[in-house]
Symmetry: C2
Subunit: 329 residues, 2 copies
């Protein structure tokens, strides 16, 4: 299998991305990695020791973090992100990984790689952290701001297949994010989606509430991109606020500093657990090829992990399974 | 002024509600309190000592916590909640307070008290806790699941007037809950609402993110009821999860128990701060009379505080100000 890596995207690009790719290439000799980016900047990082399963593909442009996504993808035809997407579309690569501009990557998925036939809206599906460390696959978390009930149905089908195929989970529980657990709850969107999900070939567990996500009240959380994003940011903001307040309290006196010395190592582990950045790359589901979004702050370990995830997804024929499921509707 | 109190609603009804009313009556002799409920149950609680500014109004029925709101309000014409609403509509009371079924109270506001002319959707506006203890007035937090841009505009106007009049806040900052702070962000609803809010006679500070609400990034947070509810529950769920994990960590060994002894008093204060139940009664804004929702778990102190809030709102001519602002459009 061949995986294209946009080595110019992300806060630590290109050094950390190239290093992660080299580590992945060393571990998985059966996997061909195509490093897409400015060869003049990549070559020195290889130190003349690129293994046989690493090749370079030059790209003269870079999509910047703050660029307007659609404009960037339309105009920068020679950017590392667009070229990586083109390699997937043209079958020269089976997957692409990027830690760059999220909006631009979603646009590249849509406009360069293209949708699976029958999929109306691709969805970004990151893992939301849970206390048991297993996580909830939530989709859509930002690819589409407005969704129709049929889109939520497709999110549910794709998310369910992803957890089965990539996470090897039997009968993943699909929940619909809502304001209460009763069947009649919610807005027009969730009420209509509820009926569709009930008759879908998934293990639908009904409406679920945002307050129970951390306790993993489901395995696949279905929501529109706007609401999902608000939920995730409310969780992040609250967790980080609580931690910063704790830190402040801990430094008030020698007595609280003593308490801090005892507790901080435990708190750090917990803080890390709550950090969704730790939970690997997020697939863009519904595009006709595997597109993985690695977090903007990815280091080499995160990049290597993204390659690991991409390999599992490819080995499990994820895209083919989604295509069959959707075209079978 | 006359305030009707539904003494049959809430987990601690009628005892705690009656006690709170008696405490309020003792403090504010200029305020007439109408206790609406089953007189046979109220009278023993008065111990024959009802002050002159307390009167009883018998109601033979009670709206139960789990009843379907619209059915309950339509059928139980002799319930304490409906009678309290009728007193407001007919000018026999200036305000009503209830700790009962939230959905039913919103329905009673709409169907019994009635809307202010020009208001399309009344909004429930509780305070979301913030680190500085001042709080953010958020609306709508559950009265309406689906909102149009014009509704969000009315929420902004009403919320702004409430903070000015009741909280004596000059130029309250109005923020639109969104997935990013840039002007073009969001779904169709927030994009259209953004333009309306920009030209409204309020201090609009633009889009605000859920992760910054705890830091009080605005004074009035505008959102549709579905999204607002998801945000609030995500915040609540995360805070309570973090606290329960901390508690667990603190009890692991004698060393962590020592740390707990030092830290727990501080943590308790912070936990209380994060509890939105502590932040008083929530007004149902947009109905033609003052309707205050006290939390279901209200004790006598919460009820007395709700009377305090109602008094301030009445003294500041809140409803008249909203009516003038809306009819002036």
């Amino acid at each position: 299998m061949r995986i294209a890596i946009d080595v110019m995207g992300g806060d630590n690009a290109p050094a950390a991305i190239v290093q992660g790719a080299l580590d992945a290439a060393a571990e998985w000799r059966d996997t061909q990695l195509v490093l897409v980016g400015d060869t003049k900047r990549i070559e020195p990082l290889l130190k003349g020791q690129a293994p046989g399963n690493v090749e370079l593909r030059h790209a003269s442009e870079v999509v910047e973090p703050d660029e307007e996504p659609v404009k960037a993808i339309r105009r920068k035809k020679d950017s590392s992100m667009v070229i990586a997407g083109r390699l997937v579309r043209e079958g020269e690569a089976d997957a692409m990984i990027s830690a760059g501009n999220t909006g631009a990557l979603m646009t590249a998925g849509l406009l360069v790689v293209g949708r699976i036939e029958g999929i109306e809206r691709p969805a970004l599906a990151p893992m939301v952290p849970t206390l048991d460390n297993i996580g909830v696959l939530a989709l859509d978390l930002g690819a589409n701001m407005d969704a129709k009930p049929e889109h939520l149905l497709q999110y549910a089908l794709m998310g369910s297949i992803y957890r089965e195929k990539v996470h090897k989970m039997a009968r993943p529980r699909v929940g619909l994010l809502n304001v209460g657990t009763e069947a009649k709850k919610g807005n027009e969107l969730t009420k209509a989606a509820f009926d569709l999900l009930e008759s879908a070939p998934i293990h639908f567990v009904g409406n679920v509430e945002a307050r129970d996500v951390l306790a993993r009240n489901c395995d696949v959380l279905v929501c529109d991109g706007f609401v999902g994003n608000i939920m995730l940011k409310a969780m992040e903001g609250t967790a980080s606020t609580v931690f910063s307040v704790l830190k402040e309290e801990f430094t008030r006196s020698w007595l609280t500093k003593l308490a801090a010395a005892i507790m901080l190592p435990k708190l750090r582990g917990f803080k890390q657990k709550m950090d969704y950045k730790e939970h690997g790359a997020a697939p863009l589901l519904g595009v006709n090829g595997l597109v993985m979004k690695s977090h903007g702050s990815s280091d080499s370990v995160a990049v290597k992990n993204a390659v690991r995830q991409a390999r599992i997804a490819l080995q499990s024929n994820l895209i083919q399974s989604i295509t069959t499921e959707i075209s079978g509707k």
